[in-house]
Symmetry: C2
Subunit: 326 residues, 2 copies
């Protein structure tokens, strides 16, 4: 090997393979799932719904809107696409059973990137017994990953956003602010300051098992925190017709964890905690007397009224994140 | 109104509305569905699965790959996105219950186009009692519509591609070649020759109800004809380990219907019938003694062997349609 040797190749590009050739590389990477009765390969898959109902949600990731290929590997994107959907299923109190993925990919994408994406989906699904039971592939001008996930309620009532009642305890599972802090570090070119926060942005970890646990414990309302604590708490408050009171001290550890990043960037760690999205924690209300599942800790109270208060003061409306203006 | 009046405006563009504002226009257009227990608005929807299993399939449409905005209205694209997924559900012998749609839209798209898309989904779903139970919206460089559809098997076994056996009758429901002929007319700028064929391309009609009927009648194998009769018959032959023998005379009426278009373009109508995709008919095998449902007519036989024969001669391998090379 000499200095003139070109860098190691990424291997073939998507456009150099047929659709069948690409599928032949991807399909073996995907987990079948414990509830899958007819796996991919026919016109549709068949999945068990032992409860007689299924939960379904869909979320899409678009290149240069939700991720950048310069920062995210295919595996990162696959994990994130799975996690954000699995968290939505969990937020209903359901156990995820299966997902399908529609994938739009430019012809100049390395095949290894697509294989990474499949491995990322598998990495999140396999430990939960979730099957990747279908998909579709198309060319297109940018990478788009549209995942639809399904879950089983195991005989429990779905936990909606609208069930919180005055007197309930408010509790949170997962982390807060890390994804936003990690993104800020990436945008500032300072990923070196705290690679773990950057990883929390690229590969968020959702407390998926905590969703059904909360339902079993009697949670009255729950949602996935994908757009920031204040914004999502506001949604629960509106849907339930209540006031949500958050206690910022409950997030002191989350805030502390962000200190180095905040100091470096001259940012306010508490804003990341309260406004930062895409951590995919679970925010739930529990009636008095419920035993909180281990993954949850108290972060506030549900009161009569409207809106979201932090430490007794009305919270400023969180600034909206608009996907279309960009 | 004077000659100087500008043409009627398409109204606001997507980028002029917030995501919530856009959702407020779309959601009222979507049917709830007969099996929907928790409608959109929470982290996920809940759909009944009375059979204890559900069928699931996903298909994506990408602008300038699967449709052109110059030819297809939003409503056309919505109908097509629904139909191709509902046909896949039907091809398993299931009755569709629900779908979700992930939508990527450029900011310069008229809001009316997106409303049309919602109306197109509704137009296909409402008559079947199918609910549009979830979705996601994102900006992006081109329109992408990723639909995932679900169905209920009603206690029947799913009808796979792999169940055809020597001695079975082969039958077809729906039309053949019309979508390909319509596309050819559009590409040649001769939509005037046969607007009905053009409509068959832009808004294909699938015999969705015939899928569960075939299952009830005892079909041994079935698939949705989306990539052309020869190619999809070849899939059934491979999956079942049989030879499929097609009788071209059975498609004489389909071929006759295409004559004016074929004469105009100097094309061969039989190639459209045998190779044309996206008609979304159903190809099914029935064991001897089954009573064919009304929607099906005999088009051939299943024999021992391999491959696809037409009128006793081995069919040339259909040329593949590759989504990535373009």
């Amino acid at each position: 090997m000499t200095a003139d040797t070109p860098p190691a190749s990424d291997g073939p590009l998507v456009r150099e393979l047929s659709e069948d050739g690409l599928l032949a590389r991807i399909l073996p990477l995907l987990p079948r799932g414990e509830q899958t009765l007819v796996p991919p390969g026919d016109d549709a898959a068949v999945v068990a719904a032992p409860d007689g109902r299924f939960v379904v949600t869909t979320d899409v990731l678009v290149e240069d809107r939700h991720f950048r290929r310069a920062w995210s590997s295919g595996q990162d994107v696959g994990r994130r696409a799975a996690v954000q959907n699995l968290a939505d299923v969990a937020a209903m109190g359901a156990s995820p059973t299966s997902l399908v993925a529609a994938l739009v990919i430019p012809g100049d994408l390395p095949v290894s990137w697509v294989e990474g994406l499949a491995r990322g989906l598998a990495a999140e699904c396999l430990p939960l017994g979730v099957g990747v039971v279908g998909g579709d592939l198309s060319g297109g001008p940018a990478v788009v990953v549209a995942v639809t996930a399904h879950g089983d309620l195991g005989g429990r009532a779905p936990v909606l956003r609208s069930g919180a009642r005055a007197g309930d305890l408010l509790a949170h599972a997962g982390v807060a602010g890390r994804s936003a802090a990690g993104l800020a570090l990436l945008e500032a070119g300072r990923a070196d300051v705290d690679p773990e926060l950057v990883a929390a942005h690229l590969r968020p970890v959702a407390p998926v098992a905590a969703g059904p646990e909360a339902a079993s414990a009697g949670a009255s309302a729950m949602l996935d925190v994908s757009d920031g604590l204040l914004r999502d708490a506001g949604r629960m408050a509106r849907a339930s017709g209540v006031r949500i009171e958050l206690d910022s001290a409950a997030f002191r550890q989350d805030q502390e964890r962000l200190r180095a990043a905040a100091d470096t960037l001259g940012a306010v760690a508490q804003r990341w905690v309260l406004d930062g999205g895409e951590d995919h924690g679970l925010l739930a209300a529990f009636p008095p007397g419920c035993a909180l599942p281990d993954a949850f800790r108290p972060v506030g109270r549900v009161r009569a009224g409207a809106g979201v208060h932090v430490d007794g003061e009305p919270a400023p409306a969180a600034s909206g994140w608009d996907h279309f203006a960009g």
